[in-house]
C-alpha cells in the first residue's frame, strides 16, 4: 500500500457520505485543502466534529453537506460569528442541522478518551452550566472513592480524521510541531486518518526524541499539499492570513456572495492553488 496519494484520491477513498468526520486544527494547521477537496467531491450527510468549527465547517454547512455538528466554539477566531452556520441553525438554510454542543474541556477530553480506546471521558466539568440540560450526551458518574459526581461525555470515535502537518518522512511518519492542538488525539481516535503535509523529508533522524509524531502505521493516506492550511498557518512555513479571516465575515454574510465565492475559489480550484496562496506569507 502506497500511503502517498493525490489529495483527491485520499478523500475519495477515506470519506463517505454519512461519515462522522473530524477536520481538526486549533487555529494552527487547519486542513483547508482537505476540506475543500471534500466540498468538491460533494459528500453529504456528514457529522462534523471539531472543537472550533471555523471557516471550513462554515463552508461545508453552507454547501449543505452537514447533518450534524459536534462542537464547543463556533466562531470565526478573533473576528466574530460563523454566518453560514448561524443561517443553518436559525433559518434551516440551506438545510437544518443538528447541533451537539460541548465545552472545550469536554471536547478535548473526548478526543483523548477516544485515542485511549475508552468509551467515555470522565472529568470535572459543566458545574452549574446549562449545557447538560440541552445535550443529553452529558451524563455523570459517582467517584467510588470520594463520592464526587463527575461529568462524562462519550468519547469521539470519528470514522475519519483529516489533519494538516509540517512533514512526512519517506515512510509516511508524520511530524507536527508548534501549537499541536488535539490533532494527535483526533487522529488516534479515528478509524481512518488522512494527513496533508507541507513536504516530505527522508526521515526524522537527528530530531529531538520527544516530538509529536504519528507513526506511519497509524496513518491511512498522506497527500503532499504545500500551503494546505491556508488561510490558517503552518509553524515554520508560513504565517496566518488574517486578512482572509476578516474578509470571510463579509463573504459569508450573504448567501449569493458565498455561493459565488465557493464556486470560484473551491469548486473551480485544485489543491495546487494552495501553494500560490501562501506566497509571501
Amino acid at each position: 500500500m502506497n500511503k502517498f496519494v493525490p489529495l483527491s484520491q485520499a478523500v475519495r477513498e477515506n470519506l463517505n457520505d454519512g461519515d462522522v468526520v473530524a477536520f481538526e486544527g486549533f487555529t494552527h494547521l487547519i486542513p483547508h485543502a482537505a476540506a475543500h477537496e471534500a466540498i468538491r467531491q460533494g459528500r453529504k450527510d456528514l457529522t462534523l466534529i471539531r472543537m472550533t468549527p471555523d471557516i471550513i465547517y462554515d463552508q461545508m454547512i453552507g454547501m449543505g453537506m452537514a447533518k450534524k455538528v459536534v462542537f464547543s466554539y463556533a466562531g470565526n477566531p478573533g473576528v466574530g460569528l460563523l454566518r453560514r452556520m448561524r443561517d443553518a441553525i436559525e433559518n434551516q438554510y440551506p438545510r437544518g442541522i443538528e447541533t451537539v454542543e460541548h465545552s472545550h474541556s469536554a471536547m478535548a477530553q473526548a478526543y483523548e478518551a477516544g485515542a485511549a480506546g475508552l468509551p467515555l471521558a470522565v472529568f470535572r466539568g459543566y458545574k452549574g452550566a446549562d449545557l447538560p440540560k440541552v445535550n443529553p450526551a452529558i451524563q455523570s458518574i459517582t467517584c467510588p472513592y470520594t463520592g464526587e459526581e463527575l461529568a462524562t461525555v462519550p468519547s469521539h470515535r470519528p470514522d475519519v480524521t483529516f489533519i494538516h502537518a509540517q512533514k512526512a518522512s519517506a515512510r509516511g511518519d508524520i511530524l507536527i510541531e508548534g501549537i499541536i492542538g488535539v490533532q494527535k488525539e483526533a487522529a488516534l481516535a479515528a478509524r481512518r486518518v488522512v494527513v496533508t503535509v507541507e513536504e516530505v523529508v527522508p526521515d526524522f533522524k537527528g530530531l529531538h526524541p520527544n516530538l509529536c509524531i504519528l507513526p506511519h502505521w497509524t496513518v491511512n493516506a498522506v497527500a503532499v499539499v504545500p500551503g494546505g492550511a491556508h488561510p490558517s498557518y503552518t509553524h515554520g512555513y508560513y504565517a496566518r492570513d488574517n486578512a482572509t479571516y476578516l474578509e470571510w465575515d463579509a463573504i459569508s454574510a450573504d448567501r449569493e456572495r458565498f455561493a459565488a465565492w465557493m464556486e470560484e475559489h473551491v469548486m473551480q480550484a485544485t489543491p495546487d492553488a494552495f501553494a500560490e496562496r501562501v506566497q509571501g506569507l
Binding site: F26, R86, S105, D130, R277
Partner: protein, 260 residues
C-alpha cells in the same frame, strides 16, 4: 496623560489587578490586552496561558486568535490541548481566569451561547469554548465588559458559565471549591461581589463617570458601595504601553494576502 477612552480605562484597570505571581488563563480581546499590559508594566513575571496550549507566553503583539504563532514562538513551552485542559486548567494551576460575556447578570453568571430559546434561537452565538470549566476551575474569575442594557441583564437566557448562581453560597452547594467571579471591570466602573449576597456592587467609578451613567447602561438595579472611589486615571506609562501594543498589533495583522 489626560485623554483616554473608556475601553482603555477598562483594560488598564484590569491590568492593575494582576501580579507577578498570577497564572492567567487568557482569552482574546480585552483580557489579552490587559494581561499583556500588566506583563509590560508592573508584572513582568506574570505567567500567561492561552488555551491553545501555550504556557508562559510573551507575545510582542496581541494575537488575533487564541492560537496565533506568536504565542507559541514566545512561550516557555506549548502543550497539547487535552493536556492544557486536564493538567493545567482542571488540575487547578490557574489563579485567574478572564471571561467576557454577551449577557451577564448581577451574580456573574454568563451567557455566550444563544439569545432566545436554545433550540430555536433568535441569535446563535459562538458558544462557551473553555468558559464552563474556566469559570469553576480557576482560582478566581475576572470579567471585563462594556456596559449596555442589552448585555447586563436581569436574567440571562442561558447559563454558559456559572458565576455565583442565585448568589450566597450557591457555588459551595454545587460542590465548587473555587471563588468564582471576584471582579467585574467595565468601561465605566469597577465592581466586586458583596461578601454575603455575591451581587456585584460598584466600588469605583472611572473618571468622569456618574452613578446615573452606570445605572442607565445596566439592566439591573445597581448597588453602589457606601464609600465610592474614583478609579485612578491611566498613567502615561500604562497608556503608552497599551497604545504601543495596539499599534504593533494593528501593523502586524494588516499583513497577509487578500485573496484566498
Amino acid at each position: 496623560m489626560t485623554d483616554f477612552t473608556p475601553t482603555e480605562m477598562m483594560t488598564i484597570a484590569a491590568a492593575r489587578q494582576l501580579t507577578n505571581k498570577d497564572v492567567c488563563f487568557v482569552g482574546i480581546g480585552a483580557p489579552s490586552a490587559a494581561c499583556n499590559v500588566a506583563r509590560l508594566t508592573h508584572a513582568p513575571d506574570i505567567t500567561l496561558i492561552y488555551e491553545s496550549g501555550t504556557i508562559g507566553t510573551a507575545p510582542e503583539v496581541l494575537p488575533l486568535s487564541i492560537g496565533d504563532g506568536e504565542l507559541c514562538e514566545t512561550a516557555l513551552t506549548t502543550v497539547a490541548v487535552p493536556e492544557m485542559f486536564r493538567y493545567w486548567l482542571q488540575g487547578g494551576r490557574i489563579s485567574i481566569g478572564f471571561l467576557g460575556a454577551a449577557q451577564l447578570d448581577r451574580f456573574g453568571n454568563i451567557n455566550t451561547t444563544v439569545i432566545g430559546d436554545y433550540h430555536h434561537p433568535k441569535v446563535r452565538l459562538p458558544g462557551g469554548g473553555g468558559a464552563p470549566e474556566i469559570a469553576t476551575s480557576c482560582g478566581e474569575i475576572y470579567i471585563t465588559l462594556k456596559q449596555a442594557t442589552r448585555s447586563m441583564v436581569e436574567k440571562i437566557d442561558f447559563y454558559t458559565s456559572f458565576g455565583h448562581g442565585d448568589g450566597g453560597d450557591h457555588r459551595q452547594r454545587l460542590g465548587i471549591t473555587t471563588k468564582g467571579p471576584t471582579l467585574l471591570i467595565t468601561d465605566l466602573a469597577i465592581w466586586r461581589p458583596d461578601p454575603d449576597s455575591k451581587e456585584f456592587v460598584v466600588h469605583s467609578l472611572h473618571r468622569g463617570v456618574t452613578r446615573d451613567m452606570v445605572q442607565e447602561t445596566c439592566g439591573w438595579r445597581v448597588r453602589f458601595a457606601d464609600s465610592l472611589d474614583e478609579t485612578p486615571a491611566p498613567t502615561t506609562l500604562e497608556l503608552e504601553t497599551l497604545r504601543d501594543l495596539q499599534a504593533r498589533t494593528a501593523a502586524a495583522h494588516s499583513g497577509g494576502r487578500r485573496a484566498a
